[in-house]
Symmetry: C2
Subunit: 413 residues, 2 copies
């Protein structure tokens, strides 16, 4: 739970400022409509690490930036893994308060201790760091085979897969989200450093993302890099979190955990941009500007998947993304999406190297597989996207103060 | 000039919130000191494109994000270049107001016109787009050889150069800075699209940066990814802008322009992190935490380059970055730095692919060459950085309303 409600602090000065600026420059032919993002971002906001049922960074209203990294375990010692999770927990608890980590010698101006220093004085900026455990953690190597969460396994091959080994898998994951990218970057870097200097885990793949492509409760729905709102029908209500996200019927140390799936999805931006907006609308099944389903007029109108045009064809096409993904067409199945846009320059062909860091949380990885199998086979969007990387993790619940992440899994009988 | 002073609107609630949170979680052993960044960011702030002497994005207080891109001209037609600069000017003037670009059909919900749409409703977010013209613009191909700014040329080979062709050069540059990365990304993407669909220019290289590593006037000094403050001695005063940044004795269409140099500088983060802070301090010549020179106690203390320790050795070492770069040791030479941090995941060796997008403005590219020759030869920092890419551009002044960028250069006798 947030310690403060950032959305109550939002400043909505857009209209006033626009009015004040009316006399400067040309009359605006297509004035920006209301800023539906927050108009200001409060960088003093913080979310505590201890004392919640679930880890922060899942239900937390998505912050503006993410740095996501996975790791391969390099130690075969159970004890090393245990110490790493304890040290990470202690460090995360400090980082989310905007503090430096590790030893500090206050009398020596030149000493910043273990902390790498680039986030000094930047404030907490709503930082959350969410830790995940991959399938290979739960093996005889670490004496943890018996502790494996019941549904944790590698995802099966899906029709959309075009994975690059260097962007796939991992034994541990860190998802740092914050309203300042330098704060998210700093957290991951220092946690990676702890993993490295203890000889426990090495970096595997990482993505820096922005713009939170999926909305949380109380947030306007952001847009992905194809220009469409993403997250209109995302999980937002308590009952749906209970039903689809959190593990409830599970051993103590797993209860209120979840399964995390991360996919690096490249978008063929320039191809997409050559299409008419009417075609783009058919691909998604929504109107680009308003976000309304093609059968409605407002963003949150419920799509009518049966409605037809005068010629008898469906208004929301058979291959439209929202038709294939809708819970109405998937036996009620839902997943929580927490995705971010990314861009990494220009690729070798001169095109924008950009896309979506898709992250979902669900209490059964099969939910993702079911939806992605359908999307990967039939979605009109497939012409414009490629799944480059993938990984799956179990995210344990938050520890109480005085404990650390997944401590219970080491307490074997 | 900004239309509003964003720094007067800054909220400094850090202390209050910290106090309110005192009862939650453990007592903070090393509480964050005052947030010296702005505590909140006003996303309604805007900077007009027309009507200033200089282009925005040079003297403008650095925004939090940058998307920088260079282009190669693909047309050999003078007229195409002229039309592109006119279309870019008109589009930038709309973008900085938070508007969509190009044709919009308001009656059709599905039409967003030419605009790619991902920044709809995000607000202006202090967007500036700064346009540069590379050396090959000023050739007989475009009938512009006679218009070449007197000091524009490719940089000579410098000791630090380790360039990759795919990160080097360009005939045009676009520097989009904004307080929302999606706003900066959107601006560049749509301007690149104009260049492409008109067959005039193709994308060359691009970097998405964050955290503004160099400060502007009235801003606290940000930190680079090595954890050190960067920009403490940056140009901030009117007189220095006049002396070192703007072209004054130049043809009308060039007056109040400047030369822009961009370098993509990779940092060997993990190597750096293995060093003691005392060694890091010697590399920079400053204290990491406070930013003070090694001969002082506060960030803005003037370094004493003669001061020695008891054993007679210099307090600020011979090879320290600030000694080599200081105007006192370079015949008074100064350049305006406007750099940003970047990270692009994990490289093929498992290390963080991160560093600095260095951008400088000066009224003579030789100023950069002089400083970089010295730094590239002797700087202790060279062990930790590699210059991967480089480009140089002439940045013309801002156009008056009704005109467009560099219009005057086409008005040949």
């Amino acid at each position: 739970m947030p310690t403060d409600n950032k959305f109550s602090n939002v400043h909505r000065r857009g209209f006033l400022l626009s009015a004040a600026l009316g006399g400067i420059g040309a009359a605006a032919p297509h004035a920006a409509t209301a800023a539906d993002n927050e108009d200001s971002v409060d960088l003093t906001q913080q979310y505590p690490f201890y004392g919640n049922a679930e880890q922060a960074g899942i239900r937390t209203p998505p912050q503006r930036h993410i740095f996501f990294m996975t790791f391969d375990l390099t130690s075969t010692q159970r004890r090393d893994l245990q110490v790493l999770l304890a040290r990470w927990s202690a460090a995360i608890a400090q980082l989310v308060k905007g503090e430096t980590i590790g030893q500090v010698e206050p009398d020596r101006a030149e000493a910043s201790g273990f902390d790498t220093g680039e986030a000094l004085n930047l404030g907490p900026a709503s930082l959350t760091v969410t830790v995940g455990l991959g399938p290979r953690v739960f093996t005889d190597t670490y004496g943890l085979a018996a502790q494996k969460p019941a549904l944790l396994r590698e995802l099966r091959q899906l029709p959309s897969d075009a994975f690059r080994p260097e962007l796939t898998g991992g034994d541990l994951s860190l998802q740092a989200c914050a309203d300042d990218p330098q704060v998210a970057y700093h957290a991951i870097r220092d946690l990676a450093r702890i993993a490295k200097v203890t000889g426990t885990a090495a970096t595997k793949w990482a993505v820096l993302g922005f713009g939170r492509a999926s909305a949380g409760k109380g947030q306007a729905t952001p847009r992905n890099l194809l220009g469409f709102r993403d997250g209109t029908r995302n999980i937002k209500e308590d009952a749906d979190f209970e039903k689809f996200v959190w593990l409830k019927d599970a051993p103590d140390w797993q209860r209120n955990g979840s399964y995390q799936i991360a996919r690096k999805i490249q978008m063929r931006i320039e191809n997409w941009d050559t299409n008419r907006v009417s075609h783009q609308n058919d691909v998604f099944g929504r109107h680009k500007m308003s976000g309304a389903p093609l059968t409605g007029t407002a963003e949150f109108d419920t799509p009518d998947f049966q409605k037809t045009k005068a010629d008898g064809t469906l208004l929301i096409p058979d291959t439209a993304h929202i038709r294939l993904a809708a819970f109405e067409n998937n036996d009620g199945l839902r997943i929580l999406r927490r995705s971010y846009n990314y861009t990494e320059g220009i690729n070798q062909y001169g095109f924008l190297d950009a896309g979506l860091l898709f992250i979902s949380y669900q209490n059964d990885p099969a939910a993702f597989e079911t939806l992605q199998t359908k999307l990967g086979s039939a979605d009109a969007l497939n012409e414009y996207i490629t799944h480059l990387g993938s990984a799956v993790f179990f995210v344990p619940p938050a520890p109480p103060e005085g404990s650390y992440l997944a401590e219970g899994m080491f307490a074997t009988a």
